[in-house]
Symmetry: C2
Subunit: 416 residues, 2 copies
């Protein structure tokens, strides 16, 4: 390892950024994350993903003059007359009839109107006659018929690269027979936790041990973004096991390492990241919690070194990992920065942006600004009081208390 460390000293790299602002850190993350390649995927698995190809109409929609009511397809000039019913056509069927004077075809909703149809007359507007049906005195030409191609024309592009697939896009693709479609793929993601004091959630902790909260929490946050993490490993706090796991997950698009990013005697993550040849892009951000945040790139892989305390881990995923994942998927990376009104005073931190979990009203338009309530938390490791938040308040570094009623920036948490 001495050799490795030595060889690193001889390569020239841009100086690692340190103690930058949260905005600078986010910008560096987004400058580094790039959109992933597209791949074909079965239509039903693309919900929420971004299209990488245009989807065009395969044939006119509707593909025939479609009856919109149950009734009679009638020819021109038939108002007020009695017509004989010479055929019947249901949805899925075809009538060979060409409508002419004196006759009509009984037709069901969704069926193709026979040639020569001028209108469809709903059954309830007719009366039985001696040889057929008696039609009303008023028939509007074209009534209750949707003409072929009136919704869209064969070849017309309905979905475009960059469109996000929602249920309506699925409906359109199904209609056009587009059962496989090219989308920007999801990143693969692995989570490595570090810390000799940690045991898994199903273990019985010894006197000085605690159960790992970060692994399951980060797994859940990745799930919330639609990802299924490919691995969750624990690396203790020896540099060898950390290096082993950096190697093991070298193929992932995103690798999250939680803990061990500070400058303590057992904080080997910065060193390990450099030893595997990754480019350290920044280390330490002027924020609380989450000051030790580390960000590096190894080839196309993004490596996030998140602080070990769970609340720091949580804000760093929300504010940096989430945007990177969205950018990789071709989506708008950032959650909108919104403005609310504080329900109670908050204490800024000198020189550091303070991120605080909070609750914001769902209601829009009830007043000029929604109310935002910071949630209590006794320490930056206190994940237990923080149940049920739906936003993060961003409290700027200022010398004085920000009073109740002041306006405050916030971002919504990802919905799960």
């Amino acid at each position: 390892m001495d050799n490795l460390a030595h060889s690193n000293e001889t390569t020239s790299r841009p100086a690692t950024r340190s103690r930058i602002s949260p905005a600078e850190a986010l910008q560096l993350v987004l400058d580094t994350a790039t959109q992933l390649p597209a791949e074909p995927m079965p239509m039903l698995e693309t919900l929420g993903l971004v299209l990488a190809e245009a989807v065009a109409v395969d044939r006119d929609q509707p593909p025939f003059d479609r009856a919109m009511m149950d009734g009679y397809a009638v020819p021109e000039g038939a108002a007020g007359s009695e017509l004989s019913v010479i055929d019947q056509v249901a949805a899925g069927g075809v009538s060979p009839v060409r409508l002419g004077e004196g006759h009509c075809v009984e037709i069901m909703t969704g069926a193709p109107a026979p040639a020569g149809t001028a209108a469809v007359v709903p059954k309830e507007h007719t009366r039985p006659g001696e040889k057929g049906v008696l039609l009303p005195k008023q028939i509007t030409p074209g009534q209750h018929v949707v003409p072929r191609g009136s919704e869209c024309r064969e070849g017309e592009v309905i979905l475009r690269p960059g469109d996000r697939v929602d249920a309506l896009a699925i409906a359109a693709m199904a209609s056009f027979g587009k059962t496989s479609v090219r989308v920007i793929r999801r990143p693969t993601l692995a989570i490595v936790t570090t810390g000799a004091e940690l045991i898994p959630a199903d273990g019985v902790p010894g006197e000085s041990q605690i159960r790992d909260a970060n692994g399951p929490m980060l797994w859940a946050m990745a799930q919330g973004l639609g990802l299924a993490p490919v691995g969750l490993a624990h690396a203790g706090d020896q540099i060898d096991t950390i290096l082993e796991n950096l190697e093991r997950f070298s193929d992932c698009d995103v690798l999250i390492v939680a803990g061990g990013v500070s400058v303590g005697r057992f904080d080997f993550v910065p060193e390990a990241v450099t030893q595997v040849g990754a480019e350290l892009i920044f280390h330490k951000v002027r924020q609380k919690p989450g000051k030790p945040l580390l960000f590096a790139r190894r080839g196309d892989q993004l490596i996030f070194g998140l602080p070990g305390n769970p609340l720091a881990c949580h804000i760093c995923f929300h504010r940096y990992v989430g945007p990177a994942i969205r950018k990789m998927q071709g989506q708008d990376p950032n959650r909108a920065e919104l403005t609310g009104r504080l329900t109670e005073p908050v204490e800024p931190r000198r020189g550091r942006t303070h991120f605080v979990l909070g609750m914001v009203d769902e209601v829009v338009g009830a007043g000029p600004l929604p109310s935002v309530r910071p949630l209590p938390g006794k320490s930056s490791a206190d994940v237990f009081r923080a149940v049920g938040p739906n936003c993060y308040l961003e409290i700027p570094p200022r010398p004085d208390t920000i009073p109740a009623g002041a306006s405050i920036s916030f971002t919504r948490l990802d919905k799960i």
Copy 2:
């Protein structure tokens, strides 16, 4: 079947409601849907679900006096003196030392402070001395130590029945060793499409056929609510195949039948639902699209008969099926009814509420009301123009045009 129909006539049932308002229909759905039973589930699979049990702290948090910095655990009255370093303790380790006058223990972040610790002095505030370390003149009692139990006490309830599981709740459960937890389970759901003109998305349609859009669209909408539908079947438009599928999916909590709910010659769903012994709760709602909506109950099963046109299907899932599913899962059933300002005039429908897909600004607090733009659509079957909406406008039945700038109710679409 005659026998079945006959036996139905002899049972007394409340009269089926017909042509009710959308609000009355939603109320009937919510009066009928009941919360599902709880079941134990692996912690990592509960994201988004509602807890059915309290989760308590299994031991004090932190479980020991925890060092928050790398440095030295020192006894009382040590400020300004030199102490010999008689032990070292890392996270996960334990020092058997009881601190007394004249000595200290080197300690790492996350490690348990030895007995007798008055404070932790960060390494960078000390200097090497002749026999040990020289301490600063000022040491605040308790500094950089989080006392045992200061975050929460053993037995304290942190998560309660009714709380929704988010990533922070997962972190808390992991910390307490709660790897399996009782949650209100998700409903099972099946989708049956009807209509003789429909073929699957991977088929080649004949002259009078179209590909089914509703099955895949409803599947995607269920996915968007976190459900994995247990079945998707096509039943043509013969009553026998519809009855067969009602039988096949009799065990599901929610059964959606799309198409065949109107009053046409081949609209057998209302009859089939009655024949299998379901209680028809309402049929037809004063809305556009989606007027033929049918809702029934068979034992604990909810049956939704959605109209066959895709936009009608979409609004009916959004407005009636989604709330039922949320209520069954113990969640707040309704999407908030929000108010926005119309960007352009809209034409109300006489006697019917008109639901129109639209776009609303993400921004909150930019002004008193967000802008809401209705999306164009040529007919109520025209699903192809409706790509990218994020809300539904609810246009009340009024005789006159509602002008641009007027306020309008809307609900957000479920995020996917």
